[in-house]
Amino acid sequence: MTAVNLKQILIKNFRSLRGTVAVPLDASVVLLHGSNGMGKTSVLSAIELALSGQIAHLQRIDKEYAKQLLNREAEQGSISLFTRSDDLWTGKPEITINLTREGPTYSPLLYQEDAKFFSERCYLPQATLGRLLELYQDASTESTSQLTRFVKDLLGLDQLDALVDGLHPAFNVARVRNLVPEYRRFEGLVDSVNEEIGASSLNLQTAKTSVESDRREIADMLNAIYDKDVQAHSMLGDPQRLIAYVENDQADNAELLHLTSTRQEIQSLLKRWNDLPKDMGTEERDALEWEHGAARQRLEVWEKGDGQRLAAAINSLRDVFPDLPSSSASNPLDACNIAKVRAVEEKARCDRVANTSAAAAERVKALESELGKLRRRIAGRTTELSTLASDSSSLAQALAGIVPHLHDENCPVCGRNFEEVDEGPLSAHVSAMIASLTSQAGRLTAINSAQADDLNRRSVLERELLATQSGVLPPQDASNLSLRIAALAEGVAKLEALSATARIGSELMRAQNLAAERLSRANSRNEIAGQVASEASKFQQEWLQYLSAQPFATGDLLTELVSATTTRVTALRDREEKRRQIVRRLATYLDRLQQVARFEDELAKSRARLAELNVTSSHVLRIREEAKALSNAARHARTSIVGRVFNTALNKMWRDLFVRLAPQEQFVPAFKLESADGEPVEAGLETVHRSGERGGPPGTMLSAGNLNTAALTLFLALHLSVKNRLPWIILDDPVQSMDDVHIAQFAALLRTLSKNLRRQVIIAVHDRALFDYLALELSPAFPDDRLITVELSRNLAGDSLGTPTVTTFTADDSIAA
């Protein structure tokens, strides 16, 4: 163990200490003395605060204790702690804490884990001593009593605890659900698949029942139509084939087809019959005959008189229009009007042709006159042009090209001297020649241009002449045309005159036609009645078996036939409808069969799914079982480790310490480990008689003094259970209710702790005699051993005073052998 001494502490205005107190701590034993209220506990608390950052026993009582740390009469205070070593126990060798009303601000000297160790196992405040046993045994909440916690901290059972705590949910399915929401969903899934199976089973049952009843119903329906058809019944198991069989059943079709057409025929016969006019009497028929004869006679009279004339008039036009209708064959008025219109139109056309021809003849005359003039002018110009040299223009240009070469009177062309002719200078001659030639060329151009115009004009006129000549009728034709126009005019005039006659003819003809038609209709009625009756009797033979009565009147017979065929058609259609119903019923039956198959399929699938899910369930169960097994194993392992450590090591240490202080006490306190199998370890306290018998808990078995001793030794045993931790033991007035014998023993124990185990021991006591006794007992026993005693008091002003005395080793030679 590294010897790390606390060196000194400077305290200013801290709790009950007012003013500044310096307490030297640089000794293996420090004894603090002071009567009550002088600040012993404050000094020790200051040490704790500086080292660990808290005052644990105050913390337990008042969470806000930090605000009460400054002395009530002071504005500010401080604590400075110095250590003798710059060892790594602490982050730094010294610390200063400033105290304010809001509490201290600093980071403590010790690391967090060490600070905790210090508070629990290095410093025993007076307030805690009395309650230590209680404190350690207090298990207000499960497995968190300080003793149990100590056990776990001590033994490093975190891993086992982690297993026990972490696997805890595996023991209860509700906790598993909370931990793994997916598992809850999975269970829901299993439930829903089970529900699906239930629903599918029910559906299947219902569907099967329906199929059964359908089958019976269809069998009944088949009986209605196919009562003797064994084949149809045998197909009941194969609805699709049965459907095809019924759908293809054509037995009644031919009859129905025939019956339908027959009925239509009969119905149309009946209609014809009903449409026939009433049979008339002989007198009425005679009147019709007479009327017809009279009309006919009147028409004939007209035809022989006026009609002849009209026909003649129309015929006179037939040369021109061979296709005209004749007045006798068609309506005379129409024939007259058509002829008239055609004649008028033809006449107008002929007039137009005659006029055009005349106009063309006029134009031919004018054109011929103009052409004559034009031809003569052209001939004149042709003569003039032949006299004019055609190349005068180019010759003039050639001569102009010579002019620059005329230097004297010698002709550059022929080389002769011009003076020989004596007609002035050569250059003047040439210039006159050029001017004459140029003038001729201009005239030639003008004549050519005029000639071209006239030639053009001539060809235009000649073409027009040819065209116009073709429009002139030859004289023969023109004469014929005149005759035709005259004939047409005459024809039109005649027809105009005969217009009224034609109208009368038309009227007569219409009256005659009407009378003829009436007569003919009367004649045809009897013929039809005969035909209908014959047809009806033919059907009567065919339908004899279906007729309920056999009437002779044609109308009644037809009505009866209609009724019979209708009944038969209805019967056939009814059978047809029944077949259709069977087919429909079979279709739903088929659906239902498919439904059954579907439900069976669903059920099989759901069952398969459930089987899969059950496998998963079993896996989860296996994980839980493994977790439980491991958790239980961890629990047992923990119990067994704790048991071993406590029973062997810790109890031995505690016993040793306790026995030192109370050698006469027969009951020795001990840790008791209660653990029902599988339950977490719960550490408790008990007493054991020296004979080995178990006694009751310390509280009931020990005297007050020995209880105090038990607590003190428990604290020391816990402190000593860990080696190489913090080398300090700080006790605040640890001797309570102890008699002198115990105190002497206690002093010896302290000495052992200090001298043998090298702990720095700091003790505060209020009893003067005890202080003196301890000062003697703990006095230095070897070189470098040192004792510091500090007397705490106050001056008259009430400021705290700390008066230290340092005792060093001096060889003691008082005893001689």
Binding site: L154, G156, L157, D158, Q159, D161, A162, L163, D165, G166, L167, A170, V180, E182, Y183, R185, F186, L189, L613, T616, V620, I623, E626, A627, A633, A634, H636, S640, I641, V645, A649, L650, K652, M653, D656, V659, R660, P663, R690, L720, S721, V722, N724, D740, V741, A744, Q745, A747, A748, L749, T752, K755, N756, S779, A781, D812, S814, I815, A816, A817
Partner: protein
């Protein structure tokens, strides 16, 4: 072995040095059945009174008081311990002696093989037994393996143990993720 021999054996084994039965303090002679001084780490003076021989209590009380006074006069800081062996002394005797020294009335303990009763009386004079560091003594894995020996260990247990190296939350997470992994395919299939 006599009681005195047993006491002497225990003390010398604990490093005490035996003084002659006759010794002097500042010239004043004293005689006890046995006397010892502590080793270099202590300076106790231990005297043993054999009550089987010295039956006159007044005389040996006076002698011890005299020794104490002599030490005082010599300004000695040596603590004095008196071991009263052989018989149970009177309460008055013990009280009288307690004012001047530490009294260990060992009486006449049984002669046991380990002298436990005697050692208990003398414990205060003996050094503390060798301390055993109990922190981290437990090999939890080995202990657990012992527990699981019958059940055997599988992959799942290994995973839990690996998680236990962190904390309970990690173990719980391992448990929940294992279960989750089992049910996940079924849930996924269902949601498809």
């Amino acid at each position: 072995m006599t009681l005195l021999q047993r006491i002497g054996g225990i003390l010398t084994a604990a490093g005490y040095r035996a003084l002659p039965t006759r010794f002097s303090v500042r010239g004043l002679p004293f005689e006890f059945a046995m006397a010892f001084v502590a080793n270099e780490k202590g300076h106790d003076v231990v005297v043993v009174v054999d009550l089987t021989v010295e039956t006159a209590e007044r005389i040996f009380v006076q002698r011890i008081q005299g020794l104490a006074r002599a030490l005082d006069l010599a300004k000695s800081r040596r603590p004095l311990t008196a071991i009263l062996a052989g018989a149970d002394p009177d309460e008055a005797t013990i009280e009288a002696l307690s004012r001047v020294c530490r009294v260990l009335p060992v009486g006449a303990p049984k002669n046991e093989s380990n002298d436990q009763a005697l050692r208990d009386w003398l414990a205060v004079l003996l050094p503390l037994p060798e301390l055993e560091d109990l922190s981290g003594v437990a090999d939890w894995e080995a202990e657990l393996a012992k527990e699981l020996a019958s059940a055997g260990e599988n992959e799942q247990a290994q995973k839990f143990k690996a998680a236990a190296l962190h904390n309970a939350e990690a173990v719980e997470l391992e448990l929940s993720s294992s279960i989750k992994a089992e049910v996940a395919p079924a849930l996924r299939e269902n949601s498809v």
